[in-house]
């Protein structure tokens, strides 16, 4: 009897949003699956465009889908080298901090109506604030490596943060103005018209900011392989290097969820039977939308090369910043005209 009670208690604990959301969906476990499949999809899409077959070595019958798992396993068993010259405590601590900060936004992101670990009227701001702290950890990674390329990369990260942060915040807040709330759950409920139709300028600017933030082409400036080898991650090896590489995709995943919530009507239309079975399952459509957004972002790699740092900065401040302000104006007009 005692055992049964403990098991039930454990299951109910696991299924409570406070545990399920950050650990399983949309948090850690799902993020891991996303990481493995999106990178695979990115390589497959690029391969298709480039007349190749892409990864096929591992699980050939399934199109090499487990290649990333194999790579990850290899990272796991690879020696983690700590260079003599680096600032050791920071060198080891920074990637852990980065990973923690990259996972934190999932605490604010609701997967389905009423299903979010931290209910807050400011969940949009919370999620954005946490994501914008990741670059600090990356800066620390680059700086503590004591490597010329890593420091260059860290400086680039700082510059890029300056370029996209204001753009992302203002364009997201424009939607806050349009919906009259900074609560992501409320924002979805108030989208009678998907945000992308309501304020396309804001959607576009947020999208560009999100590509910049997650360091995907044409803005993969921080890693800058052709100039600075791997930027802030150049001295890292083994699983920590894998984490560094995964960081960008985690950020992309968090931003894609935010994009889907703000502009693509989130989990609407809600699949009621699934939702009634278990609330988190109501987030299936949200996940599908976010996944499509991610696929589109990684597809850009097949089309673009890399912009120059100063071009990205100029674009951020001279093009996207004014556009973000314009999107606020549009939202104000929408509000005054009386959409909400």
């Amino acid at each position: 009897m005692m055992g049964m009670g403990a098991l039930e208690w454990l299951i109910s604990l696991l299924l409570s949003p406070q545990v399920f959301a950050p650990l399983i969906f949309p948090g850690l476990a799902t993020a891991l699956v996303v990481l493995l499949t999106v990178i695979w999809a990115e390589r497959k899409i690029a391969a298709r465009v480039q007349m190749r077959v892409g990864p096929l070595y591992v699980t050939r019958r399934f199109g090499g889908v487990l290649q990333m798992l194999a790579d990850g396993t290899r990272y796991m068993f690879q020696e983690f080298i700590i260079p003599e010259t680096c600032d050791k405590p920071y060198f080891v601590f920074a990637p852990i901090l980065a990973l923690t900060l990259a996972i934190l936004p999932f605490a604010f992101i609701p997967a389905a109506p009423g299903f979010s670990p931290v209910k807050s009227p400011l969940s949009l701001l919370g999620a954005l604030a946490v994501t914008s702290a990741v670059p600090l950890a990356v800066l620390l990674m680059g700086w503590s490596s004591e490597n010329k390329f890593a420091i260059q990369g860290a400086v680039r990260e700082a510059f890029m943060t300056v370029a996209y942060e204001a753009v992302v915040f203002i364009s997201a807040l424009a939607m806050g103005v349009a919906y009259g709330t900074l609560d992501l759950e409320e924002a979805v409920l108030r989208q009678r018209l998907p945000g992308v139709l309501l304020n396309p300028v804001s959607a576009f600017v947020f999208f560009v900011g999100m590509v910049m933030s997650s360091g995907k082409l044409p803005f993969d400036i921080v890693e800058g392989e052709q100039e600075i080898v791997a930027g802030p991650y150049v001295e890292y090896s083994g699983i920590i290097f894998g984490i560094g590489m995964g960081l960008a995709y985690l950020k992309l995943y968090a931003f894609s969820l935010l994009f889907s919530l703000l502009y693509l009507a989130g989990w609407e239309p809600l699949p009621a039977p699934l939702y009634n079975l278990y609330p988190a399952l109501g987030g299936v459509l949200l996940f599908a939308k976010a996944y499509l957004v991610m696929l589109f972002v990684v597809f850009l790699r097949s089309v673009y090369g890399r912009y120059r740092l100063d071009q990205a900065l100029r674009a951020g401040w001279r093009v996207y910043f004014p556009l973000a302000l314009l999107s606020v104006l549009i939202s104000v007009v929408v509000r005054v005209v009386g959409y909400a």
Binding site: V49, M51, Q226, E227, V229, V303, G305, Y307, L309
Partner: protein
């Protein structure tokens, strides 16, 4: 230009980076790049990492064996790199290739040129992290490699031209295959334009970057597409009459801008011209032997008949010990990267007494020093890619 060169070097505010020899985009060499903030103050190209003593090695082997050796300098352009050598040896030996051989040489040279330019475009693509351009160019290069294999029996190390002619005759049905390849390439060049050359992101990276003025280009002794993209109409195919270039019609495209963008478009225009030359060559291909009568006569009758009927030359031992008459000869040829120059001195033995080769990449490497200062650090790979610089060729 002077102001750019006189920028201060050293000092507290200068950040020195060693790019290479183990670096994703250094190639087989090292660059010492000095930065002030994000702006390049100076670049020192440090060459010699793949120096293989080609000239010295050439002195140690029989003349005919020098050809496959020197192919290794620019393995991606191996016919163009050795045709100058073959011409110089022919001048010493006083032998002329028959017309059909001259046309066949032109044919392979132009196929090589296309493959070499595609290689350059692909590398330039990946230097901007444009992986699609990289994969496309390298994939389409395969078309020309297979065509070259069809003609010569080897994908890269053709050793096709030899003193007195070529090693193999045109295979059956080659013209149709070449025409198919040309049509495919014409279609692909349009697609390159859409994905790369007219892609706003790529144009933003190339336009106005690494400008090489006309007078600077000629003063620095730059050669090849890099020179022509700066508005100088110089091409060794016109300057020195070799192969069948005087009998086909082609234009030497030039651009006035002299920037990285012009250099990239220059290569595309040259691919178009090369394809036009291949078409003309296949149309005008004269009949007759593909090897000089003077040497064919040396073959035993049975072997001679076999060579003429199969269209494949088997080397008799006599070639290996062939003596180069005493004297000197010079020759030049236009490679994909630019003009290559050969100077052979012979003391009458079977091995060259001295062989001097000046390669186009060696002449172009100076550009790293001149074009980079004043640009952003991220322009470094963009300019490098646009120069189509090939370290093993420069180092020899």
């Amino acid at each position: 230009m002077r102001a750019r060169l006189l920028a201060r070097e050293g000092g507290e505010e200068v950040y020195e980076l060693f790019i290479g020899p183990q670096h994703p985009s250094s190639g087989h060499m090292r660059f010492i790049v000095r930065l002030e903030g994000d702006v390049i103050v100076s670049v020192d190209p440090d060459i010699g990492y793949v120096h293989r003593t080609m000239e010295k090695l050439a002195e140690g082997r029989e003349a005919i064996k020098v050809i496959p050796l020197l192919e290794r300098m620019t393995i991606i352009d191996s016919h163009n790199v050795t045709i100058g050598l073959v011409r110089a040896m022919e001048k010493l030996l006083d032998v002329e290739p028959p017309p059909r051989a001259r046309y066949l040489r032109t044919l392979l040279s132009e196929m090589n040129r296309i493959a070499s330019h595609l290689y350059g475009i692909g590398i330039a693509g990946i230097m901007l992290n444009h992986s699609t351009m990289f994969m496309w160019a390298f994939g389409d290069r395969e078309v020309w490699l297979q065509l070259a294999e069809e003609l010569t029996g080897a994908r890269l190390t053709h050793t096709y031209s030899i003193p007195g002619g070529v090693r193999r005759d045109l295979p059956q049905g080659f013209a149709e295959k070449a025409e198919k390849a040309i049509r495919y390439m014409e279609r692909r060049l349009e697609e390159y334009k859409r994905i790369f050359l007219e892609n706003p992101q790529v144009v933003a990276r190339y336009e106005g970057v690494g400008v090489l003025r006309r007078h600077e280009a000629s003063r620095l002794g730059v050669v090849g597409p890099n020179l022509r993209a700066s508005g100088v109409r110089y091409d060794a195919r016109l300057a020195e009459d070799y192969a069948a270039y005087s009998e086909v019609e082609f234009e030497v495209p030039t651009f006035e801008e002299g920037d990285a963008y012009a250099r990239m478009r220059q290569r595309v225009e040259e691919i178009k011209q090369s394809m036009s030359i291949i078409r003309q060559v296949l149309r005008k291909m004269p009949s007759g032997p593909f090897f000089a009568e003077k040497y064919l006569r040396l073959l035993p009758p049975k072997l001679r008949d076999q060579v003429l009927s199969t269209g494949r030359l088997k080397f008799p031992a006599i070639f290996a010990t062939m003596k180069l008459p005493q004297g000197e000869a010079v020759a030049r040829a236009e490679m994909g990267h630019g003009e290559i120059f050969y100077h052979i001195i012979s003391d009458g033995g079977s091995k060259p007494y001295r062989l001097r080769v000046v390669t186009p990449s060696f002449r172009n490497v100076i550009l790293f020093r001149y074009l980079m200062p004043g640009h952003r650090f991220m322009d470094f790979p963009a300019i490098y890619g646009s120069l189509d610089y090939f370290p093993p060729e420069a180092d020899r």
